[in-house]
């Protein structure tokens, strides 16, 4: 079983602050982390490998610093790490991102055929959730999004049983291997990394590829050039008028609010219990 997990380096949006006056991001405040969903994706690969054996590779596209998220993935339990890094990838939208990642996957599978690809449900910065299904289409394997459980992996039959989250409830899906999953956070809990993993991660040197290391790449499909979408403009949403401020002491404000609520009979009604 060879599982490839796609991992992205993202700014920690929990810590990032915006300057309320200029409406810009204060990037200094945001350290780069492994996309939290991707940590769960690596963890799930580790859980699967415990049952099936095999190899876990992680793949990332990003600047040279993104090796940090590969090391983090090795800590969680990945065996191999690949980073594709090249100026030609810069400015990619989801279409160009899935193209570049699928080309790297093509090269990885030459050495060791890929049985499963796992992605996060979405990256917390771009937040589209579109890259996973895009990769699956390019590799021509079934995408299964919003996965909350990998119930069974049958290596003989080359099938998997998957629980996929829906708006209300879930569905149980059987899929052929290879396939691509995108995972929700609830799929597992991140476990503490065992000491040997930490030591391995500290010393690990990821394999780094530029565009020229990949085969059959159409350069026009990469980066900004290969991206049909562009960010047109950024704006602060029109400020709504806002409503009425209730004035006075705390008691006065509360009783005014109660009056308003009582007037709105269609909103709030007191039913006699008898």
């Amino acid at each position: 079983m060879h599982i490839v997990v796609c991992v992205k380096q993202v700014p920690d949006t929990k810590i990032i602050k915006i300057n309320p006056k200029t409406n810009t991001l204060d990037r200094r405040s945001a350290p780069a982390i492994l996309n939290p969903y991707d940590a769960h994706a690596v963890q799930e690969a580790v859980k699967i490998k415990e049952k099936t054996g095999g190899t876990i590779s992680v793949l990332s596209m990003g600047p040279p610093q993104a090796t940090a998220v590969i090391k983090k993935s090795i800590e969680i339990g990945a065996d191999l790490g690949y980073l594709i890094s090249d100026r030609a990838f810069a400015g990619a939208d989801t279409l160009a991102t899935s193209y570049a990642l699928s080309k790297a996957l093509e090269r990885i599978s030459k050495d060791l055929p890929v049985d499963m690809v796992i992605c996060g449900k979405h990256a917390i910065d771009g937040d589209t959730g579109q890259v996973g299904p895009g990769i699956a289409r390019r590799m021509d394997i079934p995408p299964i999004t919003n996965v909350i459980e990998v119930s069974e992996v049958n290596q003989q039959e080359k099938t998997v049983l998957i629980k996929r989250k829906l708006t209300s409830g879930y569905e149980l899906i059987q899929s052929e291997l290879p396939c691509l999953l995108t995972v929700e956070k609830e799929i597992n809990d991140i476990e503490y990394s065992p000491m040997p993993n930490m030591i391995k991660a500290a010393r690990y040197e990821p394999i780094i590829w530029a565009v020229s290391d990949l085969e059959n790449v159409e350069r026009t499909q990469l980066g900004l050039k290969g991206s049909p979408t562009i960010v047109g403009k950024m704006f602060t949403p029109p400020r709504p008028e806002g409503g009425i401020r209730l004035e006075g002491s705390a008691d006065e404000q509360v009783s005014k609010l109660m009056e308003v609520l009582m007037e709105k009979k269609d909103l709030l009604t007191i039913q006699s219990s008898k």
Binding site: T13, K14, I18, N23, T94, L95, S98, D127, T128, G129, Q130, G132, P133, G134, A136, I141, P142, P143, T145, R164, L166, T167, S168, G169, Y170, E171, L172, Q174, C179, K185, E186, P228, T229, V231, G232, M234, F235, T236, P237, P240, G242, G243, R245, L246, A250, D251, Q253, V254, S255, L257, M258, L261, K264, K265, D266, L267, T269, I270, Q271, S272
Partner: protein, 343 residues
């Protein structure tokens, strides 16, 4: 690609078990405006098995035409079979705009179709417009990090596609007198060719659904200070029979489970009354609740952005205001001798 070959606004009509999803009807409302501006027909397209009876509903909600692909293999949603249907329609009729609900299936389908059509897809849109001069779809979404929106454009590829968050657009009032055309398209699909099978669908109406359907929500933010103070939110909700919601910061602090998060990465809610207490009103929160009928904000900072969307605002300390509110509601209940409920 000749952009002028592409005309018309299309809406993916998502149905599950023969029932059309609310977001698809909302998109017909939003799509109607775009189509009128561009002076082109608005079409709904519908895939499934034995779905013919749904076509009329699509027309009453604003469509001029309905494209239908009806096949037993399309009974349950699967990326592979559904995308074949969409590709068939899109390549034959060449719409200039296609909108999908940003539901699990809608996002899955749109992402796959965009890849095969080699076109752009804007994710989780909350504002839609068109520039009539160059026929560009302006799909805007909250941008990472703060109170900023980004308008995403797709200038050189067609169709222009976007997924749109449920409950942010408004459906039209259904008009049974509306007339429209129904166009059926044949597709050849074989079950044996499918690499995935849906073995079972389990509907569980958990807390999550509760929040989405709640008539009254009391939502607390990080300003409640700690888990113990956050109990005031639960107490107020209990008193008036409301559901409890929280901001992302509250969920991350572990005060509430993720199912109760309201906002961009949580639930979108439209209750009759929404109490927003001790929360600042960041855009990612506001997109999930701004269509509530009646919003009451309580915040000690008079400049908190939440006051811009609130119907009524109280500037004050939540720890002082909430107990007073609870007391008033309890008193009311004893006076009237009944339960508080909502129309």
């Amino acid at each position: 690609m000749n952009l002028d070959d592409y005309r018309g606004v299309w809406i993916f009509i998502e149905q599950n078990d023969g029932k059309i999803e609310g977001v698809s009807l909302e998109l017909l409302g939003a799509g109607r405006k775009l189509a009128d501006k561009l002076q082109v027909p608005l079409s709904g397209f519908l895939l499934g098995s034995e779905i013919k009876s749904l076509a009329n509903q699509v027309i009453t909600y604003g469509a001029d035409q309905v494209y239908m692909v009806d096949h037993p293999v399309l009974k349950n949603y699967r990326t592979e079979s559904y995308m074949k249907g969409v590709m068939l329609l899109a390549e034959k009729y060449k719409p200039e705009i296609i909108l999908y609900g940003a539901t699990p299936n809608g996002k899955d389908l749109a992402s796959a179709v965009a890849t095969d059509l080699n076109t752009g897809l804007t994710a989780d849109t909350t504002m839609l417009d068109v520039d009539v001069d160059n026929r560009l779809l302006e799909a805007s979404r909250p941008a990472f990090g703060g109170n900023i929106m980004a308008t995403i454009l797709c200038k050189k590829h067609r169709p222009q596609m976007a997924t749109v968050r449920p409950k942010v657009m408004k459906a039209l009032e259904p008009d049974t007198a509306r007339l429209g055309k129904i166009i059926e398209e044949k597709i050849s699909l074989k079950e044996e060719d499918m690499r995935t099978k849906v073995l079972r669908i389990v509907n569980d109406v958990t807390k999550k659904a509760n929040l989405a359907d709640a008539h009254v929500i009391v939502c607390g933010g990080k300003g409640m200070g700690d888990l113990q103070n956050f109990q005031l939110i639960h107490e107020l909700a209990d008193t008036i029979g409301a559901s409890v919601g929280g901001t992302r910061d509250v969920v991350e602090a572990g005060w509430l489970p993720h199912e109760q998060q309201v906002g961009q990465t949580g639930e979108t809610v439209t209750p009759k009354i929404y109490f927003a207490i001790g929360l600042s009103g960041a855009i990612q929160h506001v997109v999930g609740m701004k269509n509530s009928e009646f919003i009451i904000a309580i915040n000690k900072d008079p400049n908190a952005p939440i006051f811009d969307v609130a119907t009524y605002g109280i500037v004050g300390d939540a720890m002082e205001i909430i107990p007073k509110l609870i007391e008033q509601f309890k008193q009311l209940r004893t006076e009237k001798g009944g339960e508080i409920s909502y129309a």
